[in-house]
């Protein structure tokens, strides 16, 4: 069983997202340790991309800040290698196809595996294009996480059947970002996922408050939060470790 799947064994999972290198890699390192202590079950580490087409303004901003500070894929690999001595929960990279492809898919995934990564999320690689990455992920024992969206309908079965790790259920139309209302019938989406696979399903996009997290956690096995955390980091910079810890703890407590 993959480490990722195991991470869902202790009740509902809380999965925070952090953009590596925002504001700098030293802070990212501290943040990763802090969110594990605060109760995170899996962490998504964003490798910044110049043109993140699936992101809203908050995460776009983090990508730009990180890249301006000179963050590169190699520096992020080094950071993960260091932090892996302390952080034991599963870690997945979330980035864009070109970051992996351009580095050399094999070289990227081999290194990711060696430094202790457990999975990869590529929001611009749908089911039809996963052959570029899935076999290599498998070769190095990484889970390539599949996404399903409110528009997926009849595609859900096909996607879920071949999904690895967990199924990332996109809660809403549009890009990442905090939303006051989530109107999609997520229960129905998760039900379709569950009909086709026994791996866990986690809901992401738009979730920011403990109340929303609690509500969503009733419908799935885990909750993913990105923009709300990146927002705290954006506002507090190097002093964001404690507020992020407090926030993640409040979210995890809400879904326990």
């Amino acid at each position: 069983m993959s480490h990722i799947k195991e991470a869902f064994k202790n009740g509902k999972a809380f999965i925070p997202f952090i953009t590596a290198g925002d504001p700098d890699l030293e802070t990212t390192e501290k943040l990763l340790k802090a969110v594990e202590k605060a109760g995170a079950d899996i962490i998504e580490i964003g490798i910044p991309f110049s043109d993140p087409t699936a992101e809203g303004p908050v995460i776009q901003g983090a990508n730009i800040r990180a890249l301006k500070n000179g963050v590169t894929t190699d520096k992020i690999f080094d950071m993960v290698k260091r932090v892996r001595k302390d952080v034991k929960i599963p870690l997945v990279f979330m980035t864009y196809a070109n970051v992996v492809f351009s580095y050399g898919t094999d070289k990227f995934l081999k290194t990711a595996s060696e430094i202790g990564m457990d999975g990869l999320i590529l929001p611009d690689v749908p089911y039809e294009e996963k052959e570029d990455f899935a076999p290599t992920c498998e070769k190095y024992g990484l889970d390539l996480i599949s996404l399903v969206a409110p528009t997926s309908h009849d595609r859900i079965k096909m996607i879920a059947k071949e999904a690895k790790g967990f199924v990332y259920c996109v809660s809403s139309l549009g890009v990442t970002g905090m939303r006051s209302n989530i109107t999609t019938d997520i229960g129905a989406m998760v039900k379709l996922v569950k009909e086709s696979t026994d791996i866990p399903a986690a809901i992401g996009f738009g979730i920011s408050t403990p109340e929303q997290a609690k509500e969503m956690s009733k419908k799935a096995d885990g909750v993913i939060v990105g923009s709300a955390i990146v927002n705290i980091i954006g506002a507090n910079g190097r002093d964001s470790v404690q507020p992020v810890y407090d926030y993640v703890k409040s979210m995890k407590d809400a879904i326990r």
Binding site: F49, S50, D51, T53, A54, G56, P57, Q60, L67, T72, T73, D74, Y96, A97, N98, V99, V100, F101, S102, Y103, P123, D124, V125, P126, Y127, E128, E129, E131, D132, L147, V148, A149, P150, T151, S152, H153, R155, I159, V170, L173, G174, V175
Partner: protein
């Protein structure tokens, strides 16, 4: 499994949220492209509204001046809205209408595609929103006004470099947030399948006409067809029906900006490498970590870090050749064609004129070159004046 490939290029690298939308589009296109009524309507719009066929004009003075091959200009600049963009927009908006969509969105660089989309949206009673980089809204202010005049809402895109690539990203983001009633009128032969094929098919009317007109005037096919390439829609339109005529040289002119050996360039084939971006696998200007390069060209319409997948394939197979043209060369050609033939080309098209000026003198007098004048240059006059150190107000 993967669809829409040109060799290794193309594909559908987009968020899952958009997959059913592109599948729906592909199904609709496959149906309507063989539908007589659809084609009749489109042909009528081409003729009565856009003013097709566009002329193939013998540039006699230019031919004599350069002293080599006979030069013809394919006058896409004479189309309604002043560029080739209308061909694709008429096709796509008509298709969107058949699909029951009530709203269209589009990216634009120079503003020509945005103006064409706003125009056809007005004609076909569709709601229209256009995304344009802030740099481009500045250098193409007149087109911004035209789009508003036509009833479209124009969004200034401030992210990234504030140019065409950011406008494309923002339009994709907009599409993921509102799909059911909205069609994304992609302006070039790029993005996820089926866009590169749909846009190429609607633009291929250009080479269909060139072929007929050249046979009629000269009794033979041209020896070279030259077009500028950003994403590559006017070029693929001008090339497509000649791809199997191996003796017709196909030449795409990329924007080299301040030079293909500088960082201020948009010459993708010269300086880019294989990547995955904006829905497609193709060549992109990027750094060693795959970060997309902030490209530059004087021409807002060619200021794009990638190239359509079919061009990437034509490059791989050697069927077409891609050459870099600098700002300086393009501006010289812009002025040259204006003075010599009394035709002010778009600065984009001037890149093609610039290469023809190099090529024609090296060819025999019985050879024929066709330059695709993809658009008219009125929109560029202020910027070119500025380039020459003269401030004029529009």
């Amino acid at each position: 499994m993967s669809k829409g490939r040109f060799g290794i290029h193309g594909g559908q690298y987009i968020p899952e949220t958009l997959m059913n939308a592109v599948i729906e589009l592909e199904d609709a296109y496959n149906y309507y492209k063989n539908d007589k009524q659809f084609n009749d309507e489109l042909q009528k719009l081409f003729k009565e509204y856009a003013g097709r066929p566009s002329l193939l004009y013998y540039a006699e003075k230019m031919t004599k001046d350069l002293g080599g091959a006979k030069i013809y200009l394919k006058r896409e600049d004479l189309n309604h809205t002043g560029a080739h963009k209308i061909n694709n927009v008429l096709g796509q908006v008509l298709l969107a209408k058949k699909m029951g969509k009530t709203r269209v969105i589009a990216e634009t660089g120079a503003g020509q595609h945005g103006v064409a989309t706003a125009t056809v949206a007005a004609l076909m009673d569709m709601e229209c929103e256009v995304f344009m980089g802030i740099e481009d809204t500045k250098r193409q202010a007149l087109n911004v006004y035209k789009m508003r005049l036509l009833g479209a809402k124009v969004h200034e895109v401030t992210t990234g470099t504030g140019t065409l690539k950011d406008a494309v990203s923002e339009t994709m983001r907009e599409w993921t947030s509102r799909i059911a009633d909205t069609h994304y009128v992609l302006g070039s032969v790029m993005g996820p399948h089926p866009f590169p094929t749909i846009v190429r098919d609607f633009q291929s009317v250009i080479s269909k006409e060139i072929k007929e007109q050249c046979l009629e005037k000269e009794g033979k096919l041209p020896d070279a067809v030259i077009a500028c390439v950003g994403g590559g829609s006017n070029a693929i339109g001008a090339f497509y029906n000649f791809i199997n005529d191996k003796n017709v040289q196909l030449i795409g002119c990329e924007a080299a900006g301040r030079g293909a050996d500088t960082f201020e360039t948009a010459a993708t084939i010269s300086t880019g490498r294989l990547g995955i971006f904006h829905g497609m696998k193709s060549y992109f200007c990027q750094d060693k970590y795959g970060q997309i390069a902030p490209v530059y060209s004087i021409s807002a319409g060619l200021d794009y870090p990638g190239i359509g997948p079919e061009h990437a394939y034509l490059h791989d197979t050697g069927r077409a050749q891609y050459v870099p043209i600098t700002d300086d060369e393009a501006v010289d050609a812009f002025e040259y064609l204006s003075r010599t033939e009394g035709i002010i080309p778009a600065i984009e098209s001037a890149h093609a004129v610039a290469y023809a000026m190099k090529l024609a003198p090296t060819m025999a007098k019985d050879k024929i070159i066709v330059i695709n004048i993809s658009g008219r240059g009125d929109k560029d006059c202020a910027a070119i004046a500025r380039y020459r150190g003269e401030e004029i107000s529009e």
